[in-house]
C-alpha cells in the first residue's frame, strides 16, 4: 500500500485527480478498449471531480472512451430526486465532461427485481473486463461504499440495510426527517472493489482520522471494511494532514520518506505527475 499525505484537502484532491488522469492517458483508451473507472459519491470526491472537470475543460483529459461504474444508490428513490446518486453524479461530474451517456453505469434502486439488478451490474463490470481503477471514499467508521461494519470482505453487489447512524446522519439531506431517508441501498461489495486492478482511497479531515488508522495501521477485519485494502496488490490511500492525526508519528514519517524517494525517481515508479 502507498500512503500519500498532502497538506490540505485541495492538494490531496488535486493529486488524486491528476493520478486518475495520468492513468487514463497512459492507458490510451479506445472505443474497443475503454478505461473502466469506479466512482464514489459523497463530500470527499467533490474536489476531485471539480479538478477532473478542470483537466477536461483545459483539454488535458477526455472521457470519450471511459466507462464508469458507480458504487451505490438508494433503493426506491427516483433517479431524478435531488438526493439520488444519479443526481449527484450528473450535477458534479457527468454534465461537465464528454463521457457518452451510454458509458455511465449507476445501480438502479427502482428496479422491480433488485437482486437481478445487482447480478446484472456485476455481469456488466465483467463484460468490460473488470474495473481498471476504483476510486473510493471512506466513512468515519471505516466503511467503503455502503459496506458498513460487519460486511463480508468477500461481498458482491447486493441490497443493503442502512445502519441507523447512517440514516440519522443523512436526514440533513431529507428535510431533517429520518423517516424520509431511504432504509435500503444497492451497493457494490467489498469483493467488487477489491477486484479492481487499482484501488485509490481518499480520506480528508480529522473526522476520518480513525478510519485512516484502521486502513493503514489496523488489522484486516470486517468491522472497518476499508482495512481490506491492505490485501490489495495496488492500493493507494491519499489523505490530508488532518486525516493523519490518529496515526503514529513513525507511520507518517515512514510513508513520507518512501514518497520522497519515489518523487526523486529512485524507485522508478510511475507517479501521479501529468
Amino acid at each position: 500500500m502507498r500512503l500519500i499525505i498532502k497538506e490540505n484537502p485541495a492538494s490531496a484532491s488535486e493529486y488524486v485527480a491528476n493520478l486518475i488522469a495520468a492513468r487514463i492517458n497512459a492507458f490510451k483508451p479506445t472505443a474497443e478498449k475503454p478505461f473502466v473507472l469506479g466512482l464514489p459519491t459523497g463530500s470527499t470526491p467533490l474536489k476531485v471531480y471539480s479538478h477532473l472537470i478542470h483537466l477536461h475543460q483545459s483539454g488535458r483529459l477526455s472521457f470519450r472512451h471511459v466507462v464508469t461504474f458507480n458504487m451505490d444508490e438508494y433503493v426506491s428513490l427516483p433517479s431524478s430526486h435531488p438526493q439520488s446518486y444519479h443526481t449527484f453524479m450528473y450535477t458534479h461530474l457527468f454534465s461537465h465532461i464528454d463521457i457518452p451517456a451510454s458509458s455511465v453505469h449507476i445501480l438502479n434502486g427502482c428496479a422491480a427485481d433488485l437482486i437481478a439488478e445487482c447480478s446484472a451490474y456485476e455481469a456488466a463490470i465483467r463484460s468490460y473486463g473488470g474495473i481498471d481503477l476504483f476510486l473510493a471514499g471512506v466513512g468515519a467508521d471505516g466503511h467503503i461504499a455502503f459496506n458498513e461494519p460487519g460486511s463480508s470482505l468477500a461481498s458482491r453487489t447486493r441490497v443493503k440495510t442502512l445502519a441507523k447512524e447512517t440514516l440519522v446522519d443523512n436526514a440533513r439531506f431529507f428535510e431533517g426527517d429520518v423517516a424520509k431517508v431511504p432504509k435500503l441501498a444497492l451497493t457494490v461489495g467489498v469483493g467488487t472493489v477489491m477486484d479492481a486492478r487499482e484501488v485509490v482511497v481518499v480520506a480528508l479531515g480529522a473526522n476520518k482520522a480513525r478510519a485512516v488508522k484502521a486502513a493503514v495501521e489496523g488489522k484486516v477485519g470486517h468491522w472497518e471494511t476499508v482495512s481490506v485494502v491492505q490485501m490489495h496488490p495496488r492500493a493507494v490511500v491519499v489523505v490530508d494532514e488532518d486525516a493523519t492525526t490518529e496515526l503514529r508519528v513513525g507511520t507518517v514519517r515512514y510513508f513520507r520518506e518512501i514518497e520522497e524517494e519515489m518523487e526523486a525517481g529512485g524507485a522508478g515508479v510511475v507517479t501521479a505527475k501529468l
Binding site: S79, S80, P82, Y90, A101
Partner: protein, 437 residues
C-alpha cells in the same frame, strides 16, 4: 454546471427525443430563485420546451447535438409584461377600418416586442366603447398555435376599464366610464359574453368601490379571469374587502389612486395588510417618471413576492418625439420617455421597455439581478396562474428565454441589454446578428 437541487426534475420524460432536436445552452448564469447560478439549460426545438436534462441523459443516454455557448451571460425566462397598450405606432385600443389591418398591426407589434426580451404579454385595451371590444378582442386573444416566428405571444387581453372610478380616470375618457351596476352582466354587455373567458380576457382592471364591482369580482374569479384593482379611490378597508372578494392584483400601484396617508393608507396600505389576508400582486411602473424610486423600494420592501414591473407603454414606444393623435380625438405629447396628455402635465402611459424598468428596479432597490428578474418573469406568471409553463426555467415549461448582458456604466449603475431571445425553443433574435448587418 447543472444547478444541484434547484431545477426540479420529473420522474420520466413524456417523450423520446432525438439529439438533433435538443439544444444545450451552456456557459450561462441561470436566473434561479434569488441567485444567478452557473449552469446549462437543455431545450427542445420540436416541443418548444425546457428539457429535464438529467433524465434524458440517464434514460435515453443522449446529449444534445447542438450547443450554444452564452459566454457567461444571464439566461432568464422570457419577460412578461401584463400591461402594454401598443407600440411602434400601433394601438391595441384603436380599431382599424379593415379588420386585416388590425391583425397585421398586432402581428407587427409581436415581432418588434420580442426583440425587447418580452416573450409573452397581456395586450391592454384602455376604457373604450363596446364596439372596440367586439372588434379588437378577437385579435388579442391567446394564439392557437405555437409559432416561434410570430414573436411575442398574447396570454389574453388586459381590459383596463371602463368600470373605473371617474375621479381617477387618468387619461381614460370619462364619457365611456361606467359602474358595473349589474355585476358580471354589466361586464358581459360591454366586453361581449363570449369574450369572458381567460383565453380572450386574462385580466380586468376595475375600481372595486364602484356599485356592483364586488359581485362582478367574485364571478370573474369563478371564470378564471384575474381582477385587478385600479383607477380607483378605494379606501384601505374597501380594498381589503375587494381582495377578500377575489381581487388578486393592483394596477400600476401609486398611479390613478388615492395617495397613501399614514392615517388613511388607501390601496397602497394593502401591501401591509395582516388579518390573514393574502396580499395582492401589484404592477408598478419603474420608468423613473410614474413613481419615485424611493416608493418603488418601499413597496418592494413591504411585499417583495407581489412586485410585478409593468411598462404601461403605448404606441409611441419606439417612435420619435412629437405630438400624436390619441383616442377619442385627444392628443399626446412625447418628450423623450415622457408622455403627457394635451398641453397639460397629466402622465399618459409610458414608452419604456420592460428591460429598462428591470435595470432601474435593480439599481434603485439594490436587490440581486436574479431577484429583479423574478418581478418580470416568475411573479407575473404566478399572478396569472401559469407558473408551470411561463416565467420559469424548470423542465416542462415553454422554452421562452432571454439572454441578458450585464455591465456596469461609468456612473457605477447596472446596465442590462437583451442579447438573444428564444421563443418556443427557437432563437428568434440575436443582437449580434443585427450589429453585423
Amino acid at each position: 454546471m447543472f444547478a444541484h437541487g434547484d431545477i426540479e426534475t420529473t420522474t420520466r420524460p413524456a417523450m423520446t427525443y432525438s439529439p438533433n432536436d435538443l439544444i444545450k445552452l451552456t456557459n450561462c448564469r441561470l436566473a434561479l430563485g434569488d441567485n444567478l447560478i452557473p449552469g446549462d439549460l437543455w431545450i427542445c426545438a420540436s416541443t418548444g420546451k425546457i428539457i429535464d436534462q438529467q433524465t434524458v441523459f440517464y434514460e435515453q443516454t443522449i446529449r444534445p447535438s447542438s450547443v450554444h455557448d452564452l459566454g457567461g451571460r444571464i439566461l432568464a425566462p422570457g419577460l412578461i409584461d401584463v400591461q402594454l397598450n401598443g407600440g411602434w405606432g400601433f394601438d391595441f385600443s384603436v380599431p382599424t377600418e379593415r379588420a386585416q389591418d388590425f391583425k397585421d398591426g398586432v402581428e407587427m407589434v409581436n415581432r418588434q416586442l420580442i426583440k425587447t426580451g418580452v416573450t409573452s404579454y397581456l395586450p391592454t385595451i384602455i376604457s373604450s366603447k363596446n364596439d372596440v371590444y367586439e372588434k379588437n378582442l378577437p385579435f388579442l386573444s391567446q394564439p392557437k398555435d405555437r409559432n416561434p416566428t410570430s414573436g411575442a405571444e398574447s396570454l389574453g387581453a388586459h381590459c383596463e376599464g371602463p368600470f373605473l372610478n371617474p375621479f381617477k380616470n387618468g387619461i381614460h375618457n370619462k364619457s365611456v366610464l361606467q359602474p358595473p351596476v349589474n355585476g358580471i352582466s354589466s361586464l358581459a354587455s360591454v366586453y361581449g359574453a363570449a369574450n369572458l373567458r381567460p383565453e380572450t380576457i386574462a385580466m380586468i382592471t376595475l375600481a372595486p368601490e364602484q356599485p356592483g364591482a364586488l359581485s362582478a369580482i367574485s364571478e370573474l374569479s369563478k371564470l378564471g379571469i384575474i381582477s385587478s384593482g385600479g383607477h380607483s379611490n378605494a379606501t384601505y378597508r374597501e380594498m381589503w374587502h375587494a381582495v377578500s372578494s377575489g381581487v388578486t392584483m393592483v394596477t400600476h400601484m401609486f398611479n390613478a389612486m388615492e395617495q397613501p396617508h399614514h392615517r388613511s393608507p388607501g390601496i397602497f396600505g394593502i401591501l401591509g395588510a395582516q388579518e390573514g389576508l393574502k396580499r395582492p400582486y401589484y404592477g408598478i411602473i419603474a420608468d423613473d417618471i410614474h413613481v419615485h424610486p424611493s416608493f418603488v423600494r418601499v413597496a418592494h420592501g413591504a411585499h417583495p413576492e407581489g412586485t410585478i414591473l409593468v411598462t404601461d407603454a403605448m404606441r409611441m414606444l419606439g417612435l420619435p418625439d412629437g405630438i400624436y393623435e390619441w383616442t377619442n380625438g385627444e392628443r399626446i405629447k412625447k418628450t423623450g420617455g415622457k408622455l403627457t396628455l394635451g398641453e397639460g402635465d397629466t402622465i399618459a402611459g409610458s414608452s419604456v421597455t420592460l428591460v429598462e424598468c428591470l435595470k432601474n428596479f435593480v439599481n434603485w432597490t439594490g436587490v440581486s439581478v436574479a431577484e429583479g428578474i423574478k418581478t418580470v418573469t416568475e411573479t407575473p406568471a404566478k399572478m396569472l396562474g401559469i407558473e408551470d409553463r411561463k416565467g420559469t426555467l424548470r423542465p416542462g415549461a415553454d422554452a421562452d428565454l432571454v439572454v441578458l448582458n450585464e455591465a456596469v456604466g461609468g456612473d457605477g449603475q447596472l446596465m442590462l441589454t437583451v442579447e438573444k431571445v428564444y421563443k418556443f425553443g427557437a432563437e428568434v433574435y440575436n443582437a449580434g446578428d443585427k450589429a453585423r448587418l
